[in-house]
Amino acid sequence: MTTLATPIPEMAAKHSDTGHRFDAQRHWSASLDLVFRARQAHGESKTCLSHARHQGPLRVQRPFYPEGRQGACHVYLLHPPGGLVSGDALSINASVATDAHALLTTPAANKLYRADSQGVAWHQRTHLQVEPGGLLEWLPQETIAFDGSRGTQSTTVELAPGAQCVGWEIMALGRPASDLPFVSGRIEQRFRLMQNGRPLWLERQPLDPNHPRFHGRWGQGGATSQATLWVVGLADEAAAIEAIRAAVPVSSRWAITRRHGVVLLRYLGNERNEAWDICQLAWEVLRPMMTGQQACVPRIWLT
């Protein structure tokens, strides 16, 4: 056994490991840990970003309160490189404590660049946790997968009983505007949603343009844009689904359902904007049902 054949465990990378190497061990890790807590002061409850630790090129901007001091704590996650290349290992952890309310988004699309000549993969792990009475809105801007990109994206959501969470993952495969379709590479997305230690929703989405499922109707059906929106903790799931069906124009490219306490909206089509608009509209319908307040669209989405 040569040491070269042994991959470095991602989290074992030292700070001194600059990642400036171009062989099969290319590695650059970055992590972000955020904790939101509700603080009581002058009879008011305010959500504070009580803990923020970062390592490598992942940051947050100062939190702000566009919905008022008692409203959601809005935070933008920044990843200055703007995307993932071979060897990158991003780890994002966000925890929302009892009765706190946070909205997380990003200022731009997350790009998944073509793999290097060694075909080294990147990894992105997102771990979201919500305590009883807490609410987390996880609304990142879309992910754009460049042709030849290789890596895994895993999202784990751990909810206490009585926690609420809404989130989405919107992905565009290839860059149709530049006539650069996604024809090689392999991306795997995994979702894992747990409550009380039991899985409520598990999903695996391997995206391999050379597999029959990529064009087969049972699979991707040739779709170059896709989205999944999840929401847990609604008082009346059936009413929420009816309201979304009434608000979003009917098409066979999207549908909504509920199973085991999770409402799921899925989109499979070819238009990033259509995927985004459907998800945003569904979120705007859901918001008052979750908090009693209208959706407050992050201004960064409009720029």
Partner: protein
Amino acid sequence: MPIDEPLRRDDDLALLGLLQLVSPALPIGAFAWSQGLESAFELDWVTDEASLGDWLEGVLDDGLTHCELPVLLRQQHAWAAADSDAIAFWDDWLQANRETAELAAEDRRLGEALARLLRSLDRLPVAPSLPGGAGYATVFAWTAHCRDVPVRQTLLGFAWAWLENQLAVACKALPLGHTAAQRLVEQLRPSLVTAVDKALTLDDDDLGPALPGLALASALHETQYSRLFRS
């Protein structure tokens, strides 16, 4: 060889037990469910014998091979070891992988119906007992275990019952001719064997269906104007 006779008799009883379990005459109402196939007809995704063959090959490989079949293997071993934690774990795992309301309901209803039948035959497991709300695969694996069906045959039987049921749906709703259905059986019989071979080798990490189109079709079925099937 008189010594082998009781063994042969056990094998025969196991085979008959499997045939009984996978028979369309088993009163659990499997005929009422289409697993998104009726919606695929409505959407014009599946329109004839050839496109139905592609759909079934795809669902077999990206669905059953990575989901129900390897779970049956794990559940039958868990029943043999009376490992209630493993039984509950894989039952939860399979239900969490159900993509839509109708696919989840199908699993639960078939599991309930089979458990009800076993109760009236006095064949329910006692220690450990069935987990509450056990899904179809969990109850199916128990039935196969208590009849001493070899694991490989359990998987083949389950996949066979799935194929027959999907073709019955197509004969009713596409409609597909009965001879065409038998041609598809001939085409897919080797694929069932390949699927079982593969399912027996997969690691836990490789498991999970990858059927986004089927999931979309199944969710669209909830609002389909006219429906013969419950999924």
